[in-house]
C-alpha cells in the first residue's frame, strides 16, 4: 500500500485534495497561536516581554532540526531503496529547513542582545545550529551544481547522512558542554519546567509551525515532481528534434 501511495503519480493525486485543507488549517492554527502569544501569554519574570520571541524561535528551531531529520530518512530511501519520491522529498525539504533554521538563528540573536548583552556567542548550541544552516546551504548549492538529478541524489544523500551527525550534537550540546544557551525546558526528565500559561501557547505555535512546514513541504514535493516531468519531456523533445522528426517546437522553454 505504501509503495502505491508513494508512486509519484499516485502521490500527486492523493495530495491534491489535501492541500487547501492543510493550508487553511495551518493559517487558522497560526492565527490562533499568534493571538495566544500576543494577548494571553504573561511577561516572563526575568525576560519580560522579550519572552514573546521564544514563540517563534523555538518552533523555528524545531522545524530546522525536523526537516533535516526528514532529509536523513529520505536519504536512506534514496540510497537503500532508490525510491524516486525519497529523492523528491529530500530536495523539497532543504530550502524549507534552511529558511526555518535561519529564522531560528536571527530571532535567537535578536533575543540574545537584550538578554545576554550580545547578538552572538560561539556557544555549542548556537554554533551547531549555524553548522546545520551551512550544511543546508551546501546541500542546496550541490543540487544546483549537478545537473542530472539522479547523480545529484546519491551524492547529496551521502552528504545528508554525514551531516546528520550534527543532530544529536544540537540536541545534547547544552548537556555535554557548559553553554550560555539554557538547557532543555520542554522535553526533559521530570516534565517541562515552563508554567502552563506559557507552555500551552508555545506547544500550539510548535503545532502551527509544524503543520505549515508540512504543507509547504508537500507543495514543494508536488512542484518537484512537475519539474522532473518537465525535464524528462524537454529531453525527449530535444532528442526528437535531433533526429529530425517533424514535431512541434518546444517554445517558451
Amino acid at each position: 500500500m505504501w509503495t502505491r501511495l508513494a508512486h509519484p503519480g499516485h502521490f500527486l493525486r492523493w495530495t491534491a485534495p489535501l492541500m487547501p485543507w492543510l493550508a487553511g488549517l495551518s493559517g487558522a492554527l497560526l492565527a490562533f497561536g499568534l493571538y495566544l502569544t500576543w494577548f494571553t501569554v504573561p511577561p516572563d519574570y526575568q525576560q519580560g516581554e522579550t519572552v514573546r520571541i521564544m514563540y517563534i524561535h523555538v518552533p523555528a528551531a524545531w522545524l530546522g532540526v525536523f526537516f533535516y531529520g526528514a532529509m536523513a530518512v529520505s536519504a536512506l530511501g534514496t540510497l537503500v531503496w532508490r525510491h524516486p519520491l525519497a529523492d523528491v522529498a529530500q530536495r523539497a525539504a532543504a530550502p524549507i529547513g534552511a529558511a526555518f533554521t535561519l529564522i531560528c538563528l536571527v530571532t535567537g540573536s535578536l533575543w540574545g542582545k537584550p538578554m545576554w548583552g550580545t547578538y552572538w556567542v560561539w556557544d555549542a548550541r548556537l554554533t551547531s545550529m549555524l553548522v546545520l544552516f551551512l550544511i543546508y546551504c551546501g546541500i542546496i548549492a550541490l543540487w544546483r551544481t549537478i545537473e542530472d538529478p539522479n547523480r545529484a541524489a546519491r551524492a547529496i544523500a551521502i552528504l545528508t547522512l554525514v551531516g546528520a551527525v550534527n543532530l544529536p550534537i544540537i540536541k545534547f550540546s547544552v548537556n555535554w558542554w557548559s553553554t550560555l544557551h539554557q538547557p532543555a525546558s520542554i522535553m526533559r526528565m521530570g516534565g517541562s519546567s515552563i508554567d502552563p500559561s506559557m507552555l500551552y501557547p508555545l506547544l500550539e505555535m510548535i503545532l502551527a509551525f509544524t503543520l505549515l512546514g508540512i504543507t509547504l513541504h508537500l507543495n514543494a514535493m508536488r512542484t518537484e515532481i512537475l519539474r522532473r516531468r518537465v525535464r524528462a519531456l524537454t529531453i525527449r523533445e530535444a532528442e526528437r528534434l535531433d533526429t529530425g522528426l517533424p514535431l512541434g517546437a518546444v517554445q517558451g522553454l
Binding site: 494577548f39 522579550t50 514573546r52 517563534i56 542582545k113 537584550p114 523533445e237 522528426l245 512541434g248 518546444v250
Partner: protein, 63 residues
Amino acid sequence: MPLGPLDLGPHAGFILGAYAFTALVIAGLIGHAVRDRRAQTRALAALQDSSRPASQPPAERRA
C-alpha cells in the same frame, strides 16, 4: 512601545524585528512556492501541447 493592550517595554524593537523577519521569510517561502508551481505547471502544459503529435503512430505522422 504600546501595541493594543500590550506594552512591549524597552526591547520592543527586538521583539517586533524578530516577528517582522519571521513574517518576511515565511511570506517569501509561500510566494516562491506559488510562483514555482505556476511556472512548472505552465511549462508542463506547453510541452504537452507541443509534443501532442507524438502520440500518433509514426506512419501517420510521416503521411
